[in-house]
Symmetry: C2
């Protein structure tokens, strides 16, 4: 694939990530213009077609969530309880907690802390519905529950060709404090579909499976209030919104090299990078002062990958990037391949996958032209119960 | 490789990680008995042979550092400035900051915050020595500097066959506030050496290179006060301590599947695991409620790997583990291969690499028999300047 982006220049560091070379390193930086562009583009794609409920797992930042709400987000999606609490405490609900909670105590704690009607759960098993039924009854809160449908990622979700969704929808409506919210899916296997044409095939399959299942439920007398789908690739490549009520993309706010490899973004769209400096060099590698504890070791999303390297390191004035060939915990090995990178040179690294990078960071530095850098805190960073 | 450990049982969850199945999940857990055993074993290996300066990057926990000090650690090793501050504020110095600092401002800030003589830096370039010289002079603090030697990892360090170390040692001693501390190396390529025999070959090469360089410096009239080497594999496989004054292993406190694959540990020695529960299941996979944001995507250390999977998930009563075949950010795909794992089943996952797991966690839960679980905080977690 060519390293040229649509701007005609590979990654113009005289224009992108302004001031990345002046900040203490390593530092996760966000290009304010690209971030605003990405948020506006998704708002435009979905406007008048489906309600946008961005997934906050990508940024875990209230400041970024506020920008998404400003651009028209109807609500937010989260994985973990601490992310849901972050959004609800800030008054940015409703939240779709798109993760199968199976522990009544955890769901009850969350329900007790938040207002009724602000939280929608998912379930894909009788055990999951039972856990939520007990949690809601114990908390004395009524809450909505989507049935999660497996449209091909084979992670969570009921088989859409089975009657499992019917049974779960009935179990939900039979529970005193639960209401059936509808059907929810995530076509994460779109990340393995290669290019926009392949992604649209996945997206059309998802829409067809969801519509067929909705019709089957209706024939059985079960109304389906909402169909919620969504991933960044299927929404940017886009195969229409037939029958879709809500969408839940996450990665679109920052994008990354995975999106570039899939052909749904150019390097000019990537809003998150890592500012670092060269700290050592030998005949083979320049060593940048940033490693897997900042970049993560992700090659792609959901274990898919179109690469065996860990990102691209760009230096001012260079037309092509240096490949991040290996990572230690605090070092990146940049293959020199005959070029040189003197010690002290600032580099801007584009990562394979933005979401784990934001999660690992202690905070993001928002870089805009003609404005001082602005610190964005990560407000729901930990996934470990210890800090929740 | 057989899944049997030296205890005659693969991983006896009736004995290991006591209570892992009772804690809220996901939770990074530490087996107190294995941790104590690992700390005692390294103290025994090095006792009377070389001063032990454990690398804290593995745990970033003052509680674990205190256990290492109790067992005889003479000082500590760190990568980042925030790790060094954590140790020095707790009075656990001296600290060897085994990372080539090239920004005078960062080194100066650190020197101003800590006592003279408590901090030893490294350098592998004239720029690095100049940065430290300026920082120390500006801070008005005298400090020691090791010359970092590349013994085969080809990351940082001077070529031991060149005269670079001589020039740097002279540059250090010529600087008003710097003192030449000696030679320092890290044979991280031992992680790619396959087995204990291969690791000992790497360790012997390291000792020979360091001794030869020390002799060459002495012939040039430069005394070498300290030779500091060390990695967990080279110390456990062990090729002796000829000429070695200090050692700096890190991973040995927790160990992981990388150490098991290298043949330097059994599963019974691995002290860090991740407690999770099965949240969903389909015909191919059981899905555990923990992903790359807790486990990391590391396959090994320094980009080496003997695996294409992300860990082993053990369930009580099972003789063999379930392979963690793929990871999403909050989900692990456990290959069922004809077995079953009902929703709600607690699993204990052994990771490929412990160090990034502790770094990602919000805290560790120390599990001991007949004692309540004890929370260990991560005291120097962030690598991003934003939170430093």
């Amino acid at each position: 694939m060519s390293s040229l982006s649509k701007s005609g220049h590979p990654l113009d560091l005289s224009r992108r990530f302004p001031g990345f070379d002046a900040c203490p390193t390593p530092q996760v930086v966000v290009d304010a213009e690209a971030l605003a562009g990405n948020i506006a583009r998704m708002a435009q794609i979905t406007h008048g077609k489906a309600a946008l409920h961005p997934h906050v797992k990508t940024h875990k930042s209230l400041a970024v969530a506020a920008m998404q709400r400003e651009a028209g987000a109807a609500g937010f999606t989260t994985a973990r309880a601490n992310e849901a609490e972050m959004i609800l405490r800030a008054g940015l609900g409703p939240v779709t907690l798109a993760y199968p909670m199976i522990e009544p105590a955890e769901a009850r704690r969350l329900l007790e802390r938040v207002g009724e009607g602000e939280l929608r759960f998912i379930a894909d098993s009788p055990q999951g519905v039972s856990a939520l039924a007990r949690a809601a009854a114990d908390a004395g809160r009524r809450t909505k529950v989507f049935v999660k449908v497996d449209v091909g990622l084979h992670r969570c979700g009921v088989d859409p060709h089975s009657e499992a969704a019917h049974a779960l929808a009935r179990q939900i409506d039979d529970a005193s404090h639960l209401f059936f919210a509808g059907l929810l899916s995530h076509a994460g296997h779109a990340y393995g579909a290669g290019d926009p044409d392949g992604i649209r095939v996945v997206a059309r399959q998802e829409l067809a499976l969801m519509a067929k299942l909705r019709d089957s439920l209706r024939r059985a007398g079960i109304e389906v209030p909402i169909i919620s789908v969504g991933s960044t690739p299927t929404l940017i490549a886009n195969a229409g919104f037939d029958g879709v009520d809500e969408v839940r993309p996450g990665n679109y706010a920052f994008l990354d090299l995975t999106a570039v490899r899939l052909g749904i973004a150019t390097r000019d769209d990537v809003a998150l990078g890592i500012a670092a400096r060269i700290v050592s060099a030998n005949g083979t590698y320049a060593i940048a002062g940033v490693g897997s504890k900042t970049l993560s070791s992700d090659l792609g999303a959901h274990g898919t990958s179109g690469t065996s390297s860990y990102g691209e390191a760009w230096a001012g004035g260079e037309e092509t990037p240096f490949t991040v060939e290996k990572l230690s915990e605090e070092h990146a090995f940049l293959r020199l391949a005959g070029r040189s990178l003197p010690i002290g040179t600032p580099v801007l690294i584009l990562p394979n996958h933005s979401c784990p990078v934001a999660n690992l960071s202690g905070g993001l530095l928002l870089l805009a032209r003609d404005e001082p850098p602005r610190h964005l805190s990560i407000d729901a960073r930990s996934n470990s119960v210890g800090q929740a």
